[in-house]
Point group: C2
Chain length 227, copies 2
Amino acid sequence: MSKIQHRSLYLEVADRVRELIEQGDLAPGERISEKQLCERFGVSRTPLREALKVLASEGLIELLPNRGARVMRLTLKMVKDTYDLMGALEGLSGELACQNISDEGIKAIRALHDEMLRHYRDRNLPDYFQVNQKIHEGILAASANEVLQEMYSNLSQRVKRVRYSKKMTDDYWRRAVQDHEHMIIALEARDGKRLGQILRDHLCNKLEVASLAGVIEDEHALNAVNA
Amino acid sequence: MSKIQHRSLYLEVADRVRELIEQGDLAPGERISEKQLCERFGVSRTPLREALKVLASEGLIELLPNRGARVMRLTLKMVKDTYDLMGALEGLSGELACQNISDEGIKAIRALHDEMLRHYRDRNLPDYFQVNQKIHEGILAASANEVLQEMYSNLSQRVKRVRYSKKMTDDYWRRAVQDHEHMIIALEARDGKRLGQILRDHLCNKLEVASLAGVIEDEHALNAVNA
DNA sequence: AGAAGATATTATGAATTCAAAATTCAACTA
DNA sequence: TAGTTGAATTTTGAATTCATAATATCTTCT
C-alpha cells in the first residue's frame, strides 16, 4: 500500500504551476490561460483557480480582476528588497542556531564548510554553490523556528527564477569564503550575535543582486509591456 | 458613481473571515462550517472556499483534507517564533529607515516619540501603546521596502488575536521607554546599524511573549482537543 | 483605407450540481 | 450495557453550468 492520504488537487496544481514558473516555462509577465493549464493538467477550472489564488498570495503571480492571471514580473527593486529581507532572516537564523544547535549539528556544518573549502581550492563553482547552500539551509534548520523557515522558503521561491547568472569574480569569491570562515568560528563558539551579524552582512546576497542588475527588466521595460 | 472597480468576492470574504478570527468570533481550533459562513455572507461556496485557501496560505487557518477548515491554534512556541521573526524584521526596517527616511520623516517620528513620553509620564497605557505602535509603523514605512512591510503585516495578523493581555510592570515599562530613547537618538543620527540592533533587542516583544505564557493554551491542552 | 461602433466570441467570476469522503446515529451483538 | 457494524445524513472536493465582463471581429461610415 502506498498513498493512504491523497493530497488536495489544488495543492498538486499549485506545485506544478510553481515548477512551470521556476523553470521559465511560464515567462514573467506572461498571461496564464486557465483553459490551457486545465487541459495540460487534466483538471477542471475549480482547483486550478484555487491554486492561482494561493500562488497570488505567495507573490508568485498577480491576479487582475476580470483579466486573468500573469506571472509576477520581478523588478530590480523587488529583488533587492527581497534579498535584504532574506539577509535579515538568515541573521536571525544564525542567532537562533547558536542557541539551539547540537554539538553534532555543529560538526555537520563544519564538515560541509571543509567540503566547501575544498571546492573553493579546486575552483569548482557548481559544487561550491551547492555545498554553500547546504550550509545556509543547515543553519536555517538549526534555528528550530518553523515560521522563519516557512517565510524564508517563500521569499526564496519568489526570486528563484533569477538565480542563475553567477558571474562570480575572484575577489568576491575570496571574500565570500572569508565570511564563511568567520561564520564557522562564530558558530563553533556559539556566538549568536556575531554569527547573526556576519550572516546579515554576508556579501553573497549583495553580490547576487549586483550581478542581476543586467538580467532583470527594469521599470521602463516593464511599463512598455504593460501598456 | 461610487465603485468603479468591484473587488473580487473571494477577497471580500477573506477580509471578513480575517475579522471574525481577529475579533474572536471564530475561536482558535474551532471548526469552520462552509455552509454556515456561506449563509452568513450570502455567497456561494466557491468564493468562500477560495478565500479559505488564501487564509490557509497566510497561516491563519488550517485545511484538513476532507475534514474542513479550522482556525489555526497558536501554541506558545509559535508565538515566540513569530515574535522573534518580527523583531528581526523590525531591526531591518530600522537599518533601512535610516538610509531612506527624509528629515521631515525623522521630525514626525520625533513628534510621536515626544507624545509617547507624555503618555508615559501620565501613565496613560492605552494611548502610550497606540502611539508606540505608530512609531514602529512609521519606521517600517520609512524602510521603503514593500516586501518587508507585506511580510510584517502577515506575521502581525497571525498573532493579533492574542495581543490584549498587557500586564505591563513598571520596570518593564521604564525599560521600554529607555529603549525608545536610544532608538530616537540612533534615528536622528541616522545610525542604521545601531537602530537595527536596538529594535531587534527591543524588549517589547519579549515582554509580550512573557505575559502571554498564561493566556495561550499549551501543547497539552492542544493535544487534548485534537484527539 | 482607416476609424468608430456594433456584434460575436472568448475568458473570467460565481453558483450549482454531482461525486466521494466523513460523520452521525440507530440497530444489533456479545 | 458497552461496543461494533452499517445505513442515512452531512460535508467536503471537484466538475459543470450560467452570467457577465473583456476581447476580437466585422460592419459601416467618413
